[in-house]
Symmetry: C2
C-alpha cells in the first residue's frame, strides 16, 4: 500500500521521457534518474519494462475509447437509436484528433506520448492494439444501424479510411506542415475533424455505383 509516490513518479517520468524522445532511446536508467527513484523500483512495482509501457498505454487508450463511446452513445440517443453517419465518424476520430493535435499537444504529455505510440511500434503496445478490434466493431455496428442497406464491405472500408486519415494526420503532421509550407493549419483541430468527417461521409455515400464494380476500370496491364 503505502504512499504510491514512487509508482506514480515512475509513471509520469516515463510518460514524459517517452513522449519527448521516443521508446527507442529511453532506458530504465533514464526514467529512474528523472523520477529520482531507485533502478530496482521499476521491476518491483511493474514487473518489467514492457509492463510499464503497457500500463502507460492502456491507461491512455482506455480513456480515449471511453470518450469515443460516450460520444457515440449520445449521438445515437439523440437520433433515437440511429446516429447520423457523420456523427458516428465524428465520435470515432474526434477524441483522438483533439487529444493529439492542436495547441494542447504542445503542453500535454499524454498527447505527445500517444503520438509516439502511434509512430513507433513497440511490442507491448502492438499487443494491446490488436485487441482494439472489439472496440472498432461497436462503431461498425453503429454504422450498420445508420445505413441499413449499405454493402458490408463498404462500411468497413469507410471505417478504415476514416481511421487512416486521422492517424496519418497525427503521424505526419510535421511533414504535412513542411510540404504545404504552413498552408495546412494543423492547429485548427476542429476544422481538421470536420474535414476528415466530411471526406469519410463522402467516401461512403458519394459514389453509389462503386460497391460492386469500380466506376471505371482503367486500361492498365491486366496482369
Amino acid at each position: 500500500m503505502a504512499s504510491d509516490h514512487t509508482r506514480s513518479a515512475i509513471l509520469s517520468a516515463a510518460e514524459r521521457l517517452y513522449a519527448d524522445r521516443g521508446f527507442g532511446d529511453v532506458t530504465l536508467r533514464d526514467i529512474v534518474a528523472s523520477a529520482n527513484v531507485n533502478l530496482a523500483a521499476v521491476n518491483y512495482h511493474f514487473g518489467s519494462k514492457d509492463e510499464l509501457i503497457a500500463e502507460l498505454f492502456v491507461t491512455r487508450s482506455l480513456a480515449t475509447n471511453r470518450e469515443r463511446l460516450n460520444e457515440l452513445k449520445s449521438a445515437e440517443e439523440a437520433g433515437g437509436g440511429r446516429a447520423g453517419i457523420d456523427a458516428i465518424f465524428r465520435a470515432l476520430v474526434g477524441p483522438t484528433l483533439r487529444g493529439c493535435l492542436g495547441p494542447s499537444s504542445e503542453g500535454s504529455t499524454a498527447a505527445r506520448f500517444m503520438i509516439r505510440a502511434s509512430i513507433e511500434s513497440v511490442p507491448p503496445i502492438r499487443r494491446i492494439k490488436n485487441r482494439e478490434v472489439d472496440h472498432l466493431r461497436k462503431f461498425a455496428a453503429a454504422m450498420r444501424r445508420s445505413l441499413p442497406g449499405r454493402n458490408e464491405a463498404d462500411l468497413y472500408w469507410g471505417l478504415h479510411f476514416a481511421l487512416a486519415m486521422a492517424h496519418h494526420t497525427i503521424r505526419e503532421r510535421e511533414r504535412l506542415t513542411k510540404l504545404s509550407e504552413g498552408l495546412c493549419d494543423l492547429d485548427d483541430v476542429q476544422g481538421i475533424v470536420e474535414r476528415v468527417v466530411a471526406v469519410s461521409v463522402m467516401a461512403l455515400t458519394g459514389g453509389e455505383a462503386k460497391s460492386k464494380a469500380p466506376t471505371r476500370l482503367v486500361a492498365r496491364d491486366g496482369r
Copy 2:
C-alpha cells in the same frame, strides 16, 4: 572490386530477415549467419548497421519513386500537359499499393521489407523519409496544373489523405481483414487502388463549399 558476392549476400539476407522479423529483433549476427559471411564483413562493406539499413531502404524507395514519376509523366503527356486528377492519384498510390499488397507480398521479400519500413520506425529510415518531401512536391505541382482554380491547402490535404489511405491500408491490412472478417478483399489490389483513387478524387472535388468554412459547425463545447 572482386566478386561482390559477400556484399550482395548480406543485402539479401538482411532484407529477408528484416522483412520476416522486423528491425527490432534482427541483429548483425543473425544477418551474417544467414548470409554465411563473417561478422566483420558488414562493417567492412557498409560502414555500420545503420548504413546497411539505409542502403536497403534507399534502393527500394528510389524504385518506387521512379515508378510513380513514370506513371505521372505518361498521364500528363497523354493529357497534353495536364493529367486528370484521378490519374495523378493513381500514379501516387498505385505503385506502393501494388508493391506491398496482394499475392505478390506473399512471395516478394522487397514488398514485405517495405511494409516493415512503413510500420516500424528506425532512425536511418526516418532520415530518408524526411527527404521525400521534394518528391511529393512534384505531385502537388501536377495537381495544381490539373485543377488550376483549386484552393492550395485543399490540394495538400487531398494529397495527404490519399497517402493516408494507401499507407494505412498497408500498415493495417491484417487488422482490417480481422475486423471485417474477410469481407474486405485485400488481394484485389487493383480494386483497392481504384477505391483509394475514387475517395481521393471525391475528397478534392466533391464538397465544394468546404474550402473556406466547414459545411457545418457542430454544437460542441467551444473550449
